[in-house]
Amino acid sequence: MLLSEISAIISSRRSKRTILICVLIVLLAEFLAWQSNFPGLFQLYPNGIPSKEIINPPTAAFLAGNSSGQFLQIILIWFMPIFIIMITLQRIIERTHGGSNYLLSTRMGTLDKFFVRSELVQFFIFSTFYMILFGCDFVVAIILFHKGTSFMGMEDSAKYSHLLHLEIEHPYVAYILFVIIVSLAFGLFSVVIYVLALSIRKTILVYPISLGLWIFMIALPYSSSYFTQPFIEYDWNEYIGSLISFLLICVVVITIGNVVIRLRSKHVYFK
């Protein structure tokens, strides 16, 4: 099932284009971060830029939300549900209209097994995709800002936040952990969208509902942005609070969605 989904992505022009757009967004954001820092520094320090004037790579990397190119971060993070739908789920929604999910599920055995496996496949594909995307971006940031040690001033805030203090003490380890956690979270949200897609089965509704849910989670008092963005002044309370509220909403939607799909399946998949 995983291999068939991967080969479907590889053979789909829409999926490949969407992945290419994601890669270009990340690369362009890095370029803009470089461009807003280095030309000015070359003017000020023609004989060599001191490392304390250069942003350190984890702070320059995509998830840190450097002020240059932040509109690209907003596009990729805010519209994450749209990218996920474009990469795999649009195809799945179209497939449900043809009834071919029924064929797949009967070939695999029970319907329950089919749902669990297909949800795991979505989770695996998107967690891996975002891990590779953000991992490659981090490598690019390390190359472009390799001598940098500056945190852009966030050092001043470290004494007020234990989490930020740890991040500044170990920026590389912290950023890698953020990449892993954010990728797993995005993988989980892809399962949410998958469940929504199978429950709703109408493309025109899946896009706004999944996007609305995601923006709602960003706009909550415990905003999802607190666990997706490293090097900010918020402490463990906000970090754990935002992670818990994100997980709770995902679990609730996935559970309700699965119940709806099972109830509907008697009428839709076996009609």
């Binding site: 000015g40 003017q43 002020s67 907003i74 966030m154 001043d156 805030s157």
Partner: protein, 139 residues
């Protein structure tokens, strides 16, 4: 008519000659109070334009209040040349509320130009905090 045109030309010339020195005089060593709102999801906020002369002096910002969290909030600041196209003429810096005066160097295209202090929330959340303090285009 010819006389009128001559007077008009002379007046324009004298205004053009006096204006830069006047603007320099106004902006030099004068801290300006600022108070503006930042947009949600990293939307920018900006002060009125101030003239920065041809100088190697740093620009200065002191953010005394940021309503985002109630205490210990941070906002990202830089200066923009507000000419035809707004463009960043310094690096951006995260300033902690109440951390005092911060002085930073500006790019050469900030000199002899109207610039504005620009800021955005450093977090990607939906808050629209208000920031206040004082700044100087050449401290």
């Amino acid at each position: 008519m010819k006389k009128l045109a001559t007077y008009a030309a002379l007046s324009l010339l004298s205004v053009a000659a006096v204006a830069p020195s006047f603007m320099t005089e106004v902006s030099a060593d004068v801290d300006t109070v600022f108070d503006f709102k930042l947009g949600m999801f990293k939307g920018n906020g900006q002060t009125e334009d101030e003239y920065r002369s041809n100088t190697s002096k740093p620009w200065m910002v002191n953010m005394q209040h940021d309503t985002e969290k109630g205490s210990n909030s941070v906002a990202t600041y830089w200066i923009e040349n507000t000419g035809l196209l707004n463009r960043n003429v310094s690096k951006s810096y995260d300033i902690h509320e109440g951390s005092g005066e911060h002085k930073y160097s500006a790019n050469s295209d900030a000199n002899g130009a109207l610039i504005a202090l620009t800021a955005q929330n450093n977090n990607l959340n939906a808050n629209e905090p208000e920031v206040s303090g004082y700044w100087n285009p050449e401290d």
